[in-house]
């Protein structure tokens, strides 16, 4: 396997549980125990009600393709495998994620259902990606 050159997440204390769960092939989000809303990306306080009572919950991994673009010319040479599909997925639980869709672009439609999968890009790093449901 060739060396992985793309940027990798450098987790903080707050975000580490998210990436650890991804390594276990689980999608987890913070949920605020005060206002019951889900939170992404991980934070120290709930952005909705500013409570610090955030707990990690396992999610369904289902969502819809909110928008997408086929990136032909990436901003850095690190993404040598362009074109690739960059997307915003809206999860069933509410939050949106920046992610990749792995599917032929001509099969994609805004708002189509998508489902999570886990891409073990290095032995230490797993990215959360999606494919058509």
């Amino acid at each position: 396997m060739s060396e992985y050159l793309k940027p990798l997440p450098q987790p903080s204390k707050t975000s580490l549980p998210f990436w650890d769960a991804a390594k276990r092939h689980e999608l987890t989000l913070q949920r605020c125990e005060a206002c019951q809303k889900f939170v992404y990306y991980p934070r120290a306080r709930c952005p909705h009600c500013f409570s610090d009572r955030l707990a990690w919950r396992k999610c369904s991994g289902k969502g819809r393709l909110y928008s997408f673009t086929v990136v032909h010319r990436p901003a850095t040479r690190l993404f040598g495998d362009a074109p690739y599909v960059l997307a915003i997925v809206e999860l069933e639980e509410g939050p949106r994620m920046t992610t990749n869709i792995v599917a032929p672009p001509d099969k994609l439609k805004v708002d189509m259902p998508v489902t999570v999968f886990f891409d073990d890009v290095t032995p230490e790093h797993t990215l959360v990606k999606f494919k058509p449901a």
């Binding site: 940027p7 997440p9 086929v70 990136v71 990436p74 915003i88």
Partner: protein, 385 residues
């Protein structure tokens, strides 16, 4: 608080954008446009008592404005770096007026310049959400605006040709602007649609080109404005707003804080959209203009595409828009790209539009946009009759 006619723009300085590498520093360019703007205002350097500056990516630093002040030997009574991306230039204008209205300053220099960094090594754009974006290849602005365009097309039926029309009409404007970078070859809708995809659905000719350059504006008190060299251009209304940094977390990607900023500005000015003679909406991409015209209330939501197609956006048309060519044809010299919309509004209202002068132009709406439509500033400028 209202800023209506509390201050006026009285002088501008601007460089023709250029792309070739030179041994200029961004600070050299700042000095050039500052000197031009102060002279254009009919003032001397010692008259400047406020400094608002955008940090040049090519010459960044800490405690920035006092370094610029020292470089020019200014004695400012207010110093600020404004860091709201492409909206920084427009944002400076109302902040200058507020400082003047508060009695803190009499003449404020609003200053932007930068160098084209293309071709040089540069770190990827860092944001607070970098950890959750960069690993997926969400780096730079092109892909984020493509996400706006894709959903705008899906929700409202906007077509690639409607987006391309913005670039085409703005190029026609640029052909009449000696300062515009792309002012030699006309553009057709087919040219735009046949240019290569950068981030689908956005083509190369729908995307700004980074340049070197600079722009400055002097904003002054009514006392100074009444004896200025050119007709003073009064600030009638201003509004500002932000609702996201990354496009992923926007409440709805096809909508923006332009709406709140424009509503505030029009309310302050006591004017309606139909009163406006020309618009200068920030245009980093074609889609930005369509969303801005919708959210600023010049057409209904979802009608941005048909509006651009059905109206003549040139200086001679029924809806003059970015008569300098917009950044798409003028060029984007860092934050000075966003100042170009301000300088063009001022130039037109002063009657200094040359071959692209909009007839009887008295009121202009200028929109500044930073990040991924993240920061929005609306300004209404007036030439008193």
């Amino acid at each position: 608080m209202s800023l209506k006619r509390k201050a006026a723009a009285i002088g501008i300085g601007e460089l023709k954008p250029y792309r070739e590498p030179t041994d200029d520093s961004a600070l050299d360019l700042m000095a050039a446009v500052a000197a031009e703007a102060i002279a254009d205002a009919g003032l001397e350097k010692k008259d400047i008592d406020g400094l608002l500056v955008g940090m040049a990516s090519a010459d960044p630093g800490m405690i920035y404005p006092s370094a610029i002040g020292e470089l020019f030997d200014l004695r400012p009574r207010m110093l600020n770096v404004l860091d709201i991306g492409g909206a920084s230039g427009t944002g400076m204008i109302w902040r200058a007026a507020a400082a003047i209205d508060a009695g803190i300053c009499n003449a404020v220099l609003c200053l932007t310049a930068d160098l084209n960094r293309l071709g040089r090594r540069r770190p990827p754009m860092i944001s607070l959400m970098y950890e959750f974006e960069a690993p997926y290849g969400a780096i730079g602005a092109n892909c984020s605006y493509a996400l706006i365009a894709q959903r705008h097309m899906a929700l409202y039926g906007t077509t690639p040709a409607q987006m391309a029309k913005v670039a085409v009409d703005q190029r026609t404007n640029a052909l009449a602007n000696p300062l515009a970078f792309f002012n030699d070859i006309p553009l057709t809708i087919d040219d735009v649609l046949n240019s290569r995809y950068i981030c689908e659905p956005l083509h190369l000719f729908e995307i700004v080109s980074p340049m070197s350059g600079g722009a400055a504006v002097v904003v002054a008190s009514p006392e100074i404005a009444r004896r200025s060299k050119h007709a003073p251009i009064w600030l009638l209304g201003a509004g500002e707003g932000s609702d996201r940094a990354s496009i992923t977390y926007a409440p709805e990607v096809t909508e923006s804080a332009v709406k709140g900023a424009a509503d505030t500005a029009f309310k302050m000015a006591g004017l309606q959209r139909k009163d406006i003679d020309l618009v200068c909406p920030y245009d980093c991409y074609t889609i930005t203009v369509l969303v801005t015209l919708e959210d600023a209330g010049f057409c209904k939501k979802r009608q941005g595409g048909p509006f651009a197609m059905d109206h003549d956006l040139t200086y001679a048309g029924d809806f003059p828009c970015n008569t300098h060519g917009g950044q798409l044809s003028f060029g984007q010299p860092g934050l000075a790209g966003g100042m170009s919309h301000v300088t063009e509004g001022i130039r037109q209202l002063m009657g200094r539009g040359g071959g692209r002068q909009v007839k009887d132009a008295r009121l202009a709406y200028v929109n500044g946009n930073g990040g991924i439509m993240s920061e929005q500033v609306g300004l209404i400028l007036e030439r008193a009759s």
